[in-house]
Amino acid sequence: MSENLIVPTMAEMLAQGKQPEVLFWVGCAGSFDDRAKKITKAFVRILNRSNVSFAVLGAEESCTGDPAKRAGNEFLFQMQAMMNIEVLNAYEAKKIVTACPHCFNTLKNEYPELGGKYEVIHHTEFLKSLLDDGRLTIEGGQFKGKRITFHDPCYLGRANNVYEAPRDLILKLDAELLEMKRSKANGLCCGAGGAQMFKDAEPGNKEVNVLRTEDALETKPEIIAAACPFCNTMMTDGIKNKEKEQEVKVMDIAELIANAQDL
């Protein structure tokens, strides 16, 4: 089955003399990680369905430098940032949406001082605005009454105070939103942040993602909703560790919305 995803690049847009409404920053995970690519596609399907004029940088996109910065390599981070800012400014990007809270945080908070000033929004906020503006409607009760718990990504929640957009979307699905004992500002990290995704954990008595999965399982969910490709990986691994793959699915908010629309 070949999908008809419409994914214009900024270069193509420019060649046609067009400026998209929003630039979709896909991010490294969204571009290369097999699980995260599904999230990217789900989000694109929604954008296509809602007739959102968007474009990606494609091969002109590069790592924001977030993992380098959290690891302490400020040089590499600023090199990446300045290269990306050159590209973004050349295309006169104004508004950026991304499905990765790490890219979101870095682009939104750490790029302005280096010359990259954009309106940056997370995909959950963008989806919420599509719904609010009536550009996207959710019909059908595929998730009606489903028990869904939401895991707050640190770089979306505590780092940037976005707590409600993802929850509002889950409620729009008529699902039953379950809160873990540690949620919102008190949420527990999945264990991937601060460049931990790319290294082994220090000696301890448990993996952070297993602890967080236990928090989630306490709510007896059918679905653990995530809003970050790295959290998604960590929670999926946690569920495997607990041998609950059959009962509990880990899904991104964009996938929930896309599935609800049979996209």
């Binding site: 994914v7 990606v56 302490g72 908070n109 001082e113 780092a159 940037n160 527990l188 301890g204 602890l211």
Partner: protein, 444 residues
């Protein structure tokens, strides 16, 4: 009272405050060993934060039991200190209950002090029980082994003794106020909702001995307050003062925003400038020491981070919410703060001993206090920063030390080096070509 008492009191007052201010000066000097950081922007929001978080205790009540008990002790501390003013005037001028002319207002004042004193006694006892009998996890954590554990209890004992002395002082006073026909200078003044139940203790004693007791309690109480005030510098209890500047100067940016190192920005801009001469020597200003990247010792941290270290009262809310600590890793954000203060004190003493100059002692905050293993366990999730009731940021210290490890020592864990090499070579933390970034579009 004879003049001898007044002179003795004045000497005590001068020594008490003199030693205290001397130590405050030391703290100020030590905090200023830190590098500059501008926290003068947005004074409106800063005052508001101080009012809400320090004065209003808004973050304390996130844990309701500890929060409410703490507010009682805090209110008691502030309100009962009004009484301190009367005690000091009485002590200096030989008056007795100098504010008693306030009449019924005085009754209300003394009455509320008494009720608060009782509530403080109860709250402090519960605190002691939580620490020593219930043994909450964050209070028996290995961070607190040795002096910090005793320190916490000493503070509670101090408060218990001071409140008890205050009530005993009032009780003996009340007993003498009630002597038929009056006794000496003990005029009828104040209401004593709590100490009226203690006063019968003195029944059967001669008025003279009760007066002696009354004076003894009065002296012990005020001497106790001076000793406690001077104990602050040596204890974790400085937060009662420093919480105010600490919340005022705390970071106002989103928690996810880490500062961009300016020294690095300069170098990166030069590197990326096509017109820059690649063979030119770095333009060094006269006498300027090249900036060190990141922090290996307290002098590399900024002054707000050092203020944070003195402000920390070791409550451990940070550590109890840290994902690394919860899963048995060595990292404890509280220990980061305690280590920073201990090292800063060590550096300060070194400066004191060497006539105002720091003589290198072959020790650093990194390695001698905080190990790389602790630093690398951090997920930068900001749980510690969010939890801190006075807006301390252990995370900023961890990040500055990681920067030193990576940029000055190239000492990142191997897998992180691989990740960084990938970003450098192909613009992603994994080994995929940048040219393939849009391949997902056509994959099924």
């Amino acid at each position: 009272m004879s003049y001898l008492d007044n002179i003795l009191f004045a000497i005590l007052l001068v020594i008490g405050f003199g030693y205290f201010f001397n130590n405050i000066k030391k703290i100020h000097r030590n905090i200023n060993l830190g590098i500059a950081v501008d926290r003068k922007d947005n004074p409106g929001l800063r005052w508001k934060n101080m009012a809400m978080i320090a004065l209003g205790q808004s973050k304390m009540v996130k844990r309701p039991v500890a929060g409410v008990l703490h507010i009682i002790v805090y209110l008691g501390f502030i309100i009962i200190n009004i009484e301190l003013l009367e005690i000091i005037i009485d002590g200096l001028f030989g008056t007795h209950r100098v504010f008693s002319f306030l009449g019924s207002a005085y009754d209300v004042l003394i009455g509320s002090f008494e009720i608060l004193a009782l509530l403080v006694l109860i709250a402090v006892s519960v605190f002691w029980i939580r620490r020593n009998l219930i043994r909450l996890k964050r209070f028996i954590n290995p961070d607190l082994q040795g002096f910090p554990k005793s320190d916490a209890n000493y503070i509670l004992y101090f408060e218990m003794v001071l409140m008890t002395l205050f009530l005993l002082m009032n009780a003996s006073d009340l007993h003498l106020q009630n002597v038929p026909g009056g006794f000496s200078h003990f005029v009828k003044a104040g209401s004593f909702p709590v100490s009226q139940f203690i006063a019968p203790l003195f029944n059967g004693m001669s008025n003279e001995s009760v007066m002696l007791f009354s004076e003894l309690f009065w002296w012990l109480h005020i001497v106790g307050i001076f000793v406690f005030m001077n104990y602050l510098y040596f204890s974790k209890h400085l937060h009662i003062l420093l919480a105010f500047p600490n919340t005022y100067f705390a970071n106002l940016n989103p928690l996810g925003q880490f500062d961009n190192l300016e020294a690095v920005t300069k170098e990166v801009k030069t590197m990326m400038d096509p017109n820059a001469d690649p063979f030119a020597a770095a333009p060094a200003s006269e006498g300027e020491v090249p900036a060190k990247f990141g922090a290996s010792d307290v002098q590399d941290l900024n002054w707000v981070q050092l203020l944070n270290a003195y402000t920390c009262t070791e409550c451990g809310r940070c550590t109890s919410s840290c994902p690394a600590n919860l899963t048995g890793k060595k990292l404890s954000p509280r220990k980061i703060m305690m280590d920073t203060r201990d090292r800063l004190e060590e550096v300060g003493k070194n400066i004191d001993a060497n006539k105002g100059v720091f003589i290198p002692d072959n020790k650093t905050l990194l390695n001698d206090y905080i190990t790389p293993e602790e630093l690398w366990a951090c997920t930068s999730c900001n749980a510690c920063v969010e939890e801190c009731p006075v807006n301390i940021s252990p995370l900023s210290i961890i990040m500055d030390m990681r920067r030193y490890l990576v940029m000055e020592q190239s000492a990142a864990p191997m897998p992180l080096n691989a990740m960084m090499t990938n970003i450098e070579n192909n613009g992603a933390p994994w080994q995929y070509s940048q040219q393939d970034r849009l391949n997902w579009k056509n994959e099924n």
